[in-house]
């Protein structure tokens, strides 16, 4: 009995240590429903008086990576950026953001605490270098350390910026792809829908949603994510909530002429191949049927090219549309614009990200 005392003590000590460190030692896990992080700008900027509509801008900013050839695009081998590179890219993004001067900005792929982004909190940086006063942020890829490809610490996600107050933020988890083994999944992306209520002075509140669905999965996860975004739209609509949702749906609109064999798609590894959309022809049809898109489907189908918003490499001009904004209210007719270049938005955007910004004017009158 006496001989067992040390074993008991050591076991108790280890159990204490395990409890103290928790079962999530790299801090990668999320609950199904969580509160996002709320931000405020260093200096408050008095917003302009609200008129009859709000300008909404959506942009996947590629974590201020500009057109650096990263390893996952299969065009290069870069993993990390220098601080100067990140700041230079952020300044270029902010210049475009200031020029558009939207009331609400929805962003995908923004880093707040990542080694690859020199640990710059890009949400706070954009707040402090534009006219936005408030932001909410929800991680979609978070780990204290990722022991793969030299990535190290990671915190990337979706964000909503606004000149007016945001409240009631929600991070709705989207399920993970199950293609990888459990260890890889532990460190992999946890995508989400980020939602917050925009308090518009003198007008009805607007629920803002942003999302970034799976790009690479071949096990049906992307479709599940798209359906969950649609389900959230439907739930809000049924509850009579006035909403606008924008993001990167990683698939093409119905009626797209080119659906595979894009000349900038060079990945041979199956896990990074995301360029064959032939099985996804009607995945977004219900969005167009039930809600108002920033770019009407009839306009897109008449001529796809002016609405393309993504290309993998900057040697190839925008060659597919992956980015969308929908509402259950109404947009100002003809106000949807894909900011492809100087002629459509005033700035060359090819160099700023692998996605082009998309803007539209939302009429402040609920459904």
């Amino acid at each position: 009995m006496v001989n067992q005392i040390p074993v008991v003590i050591i076991t108790a000590l280890l159990a204490t240590v395990v409890v103290l460190t928790g079962c999530d030692p790299f801090n990668t896990r999320f609950e199904d429903l969580e509160k996002p992080q709320f931000y405020e700008a260093r200096d408050y900027v008095e917003p302009p008086a609200v008129g009859e509509d709000l300008l909404i801008l959506n942009w996947n900013i590629k974590f201020a990576g500009g057109r650096i050839d990263f390893w996952f695009d299969c065009w290069g081998d870069r993993v990390l950026m220098e601080r100067e590179e990140v700041l230079e890219n952020l300044e270029a993004l902010a210049e475009k953001i200031r020029l558009v001067d939207a009331d609400v900005l929805m962003v995908q792929e923004i880093d707040i605490d990542s080694k690859r982004g020199a640990y710059i909190d890009q949400v706070q940086w954009i707040l402090d270098n534009t006219d936005y006063n408030y932001a909410v942020y929800a991680s979609q890829w978070r780990a204290d350390f990722i022991p793969s490809d030299g990535l190290g610490r990671m915190d990337m996600g979706n964000a909503i910026f606004s000149k007016h107050p945001l409240s009631d933020g929600r991070r709705l988890a989207l399920p993970q792809s199950e293609e990888q083994d459990s260890l890889e999944r532990y460190f992999y992306l946890n995508r989400n829908i980020l939602a917050a209520r925009l308090e518009v002075p003198g007008a009805e509140d607007v629920e803002i949603l942003t999302f970034h669905v799976d790009a690479y999965s071949h096990d049906g996860t992307k479709k599940i994510h798209i359906d969950m975004v649609k389900d959230e739209f439907d739930r809000l609509h049924e509850e009579g909530v006035f909403f606008v949702g924008g993001g990167d749906l990683n698939t093409l609109p119905p009626g797209s002429e080119e659906q595979h064999v894009f000349e900038d798609a060079v990945c041979e590894l199956e896990e990074f191949m995301a360029d064959d959309y032939r099985q996804e022809e009607d995945w977004l049809q219900e969005f167009y049927d039930d809600y108002e898109p920033a770019i009407p489907l009839v306009d897109y189908q008449a001529d796809n090219e002016p609405y393309f918003s993504h290309s993998v490499h900057d040697s190839v001009f925008w060659n597919r549309k992956l980015d969308y904004i929908f509402t259950n209210g109404q947009f100002v007719e003809g106000s949807g614009l894909t900011h492809q270049d100087e002629s459509s938005g005033g700035v060359e955007t090819m160099a700023l990200s692998d996605h082009a910004p998309l803007s539209v004017r939302l009429i402040l009158e609920g459904p």
Partner: protein, 262 residues
């Protein structure tokens, strides 16, 4: 930083007082030859000791001990020597010198995919990591009270595009690879509790001027069960607070080892 300085000053003062009182005492050093790797005590001539994670140690003479981590040796050749150069009463002073060549390990870890702790597109130079430490241990009523001051420098040869590995425990020990030097100070106590059960507890501080992170302080606590003169099992925790390139971070990690002496 002020609090850290205060803790270090108090720890040094109490260590000075404790060890100073041990100078006047007589002691039988042979009682303190096993499982004392972090103290100023050296192993008996011809004696070996190894742990699952602890280094392989060998008493070359009664005053000179050599050690190396066998698990790491193939990918990070390393050797450390501890020389006991002064004794007065129950106090012993030793000099610890170590040399590690971590380049093969770092290049191995610079890989694509899982296991890539360092980016594969960044060149890792040849690094010679040198560590020197003055260690003083006093025997106070059967307990070993140790204090040490050390310096790690790591000259680099060839093209270097290395980036830091921003993980607790690892960052402090690799910071010298990016900066001029890392200064290390530590205090430690080990001794018996009751019967075969003993303890080991310590505090260790790292300062690396010029790095993006500033300092790390580690506290350890272990219970030790020495089932025979040859075997020892120890388990406990390592608590670490450090300032890294991303900011401050506190961790508690479990520790476990089995040591064998012959």
């Amino acid at each position: 930083m002020k609090r850290l300085r205060m803790v270090l000053v108090l720890a040094c003062a109490s260590l000075f007082f404790t060890i100073g009182s041990a100078v006047a005492q007589e002691t039988n050093y042979d009682e303190y030859r096993s499982f004392v790797s972090s103290t100023a005590m050296t192993m008996e001539h011809g004696q070996f000791e190894v742990g699952i994670f602890a280094p392989l140690r060998y008493g070359l003479t009664d005053k000179l001990e050599l050690s190396s981590h066998p698990l790491w040796f193939l990918v990070a050749p390393n050797l450390r020597a501890k020389y006991a150069f002064y004794r007065a009463g129950a106090v012993q002073l030793s000099w610890n010198s170590g040399l590690t060549y971590p380049t093969p390990l770092l290049r191995l870890l610079s890989m694509e995919g899982a296991g890539g702790v360092h980016p594969p597109d960044r060149a890792v130079p040849h690094i010679i990591s040198l560590f020197n430490e003055l260690v003083v241990t006093g025997v106070v009523e059967g307990h070993l009270v140790t204090g040490a001051l050390g310096l790690q420098v790591a000259p680099r040869f060839g093209e270097s595009q290395m980036v830091s590995i921003d993980v607790p425990v690892v960052y402090a020990r690799t910071a010298a690879f990016f900066t001029v030097a890392t200064a290390v100070a530590r205090v430690e106590v080990q001794g018996p509790i009751v019967g075969p059960i003993g303890y080991r507890s310590g505090l260790k501080g790292f300062i690396y001027p010029g790095a993006d992170g500033r300092f790390t302080i580690e506290g350890t606590g272990q219970l030790r069960w020495q089932s025979s003169p040859r075997w020892l099992v120890q388990a406990g925790y390592l608590a670490s607070y450090g300032e890294y390139p991303f900011g401050g971070d506190f961790r508690i990690l479990p520790t476990l080892d089995v040591l064998w002496a012959w």
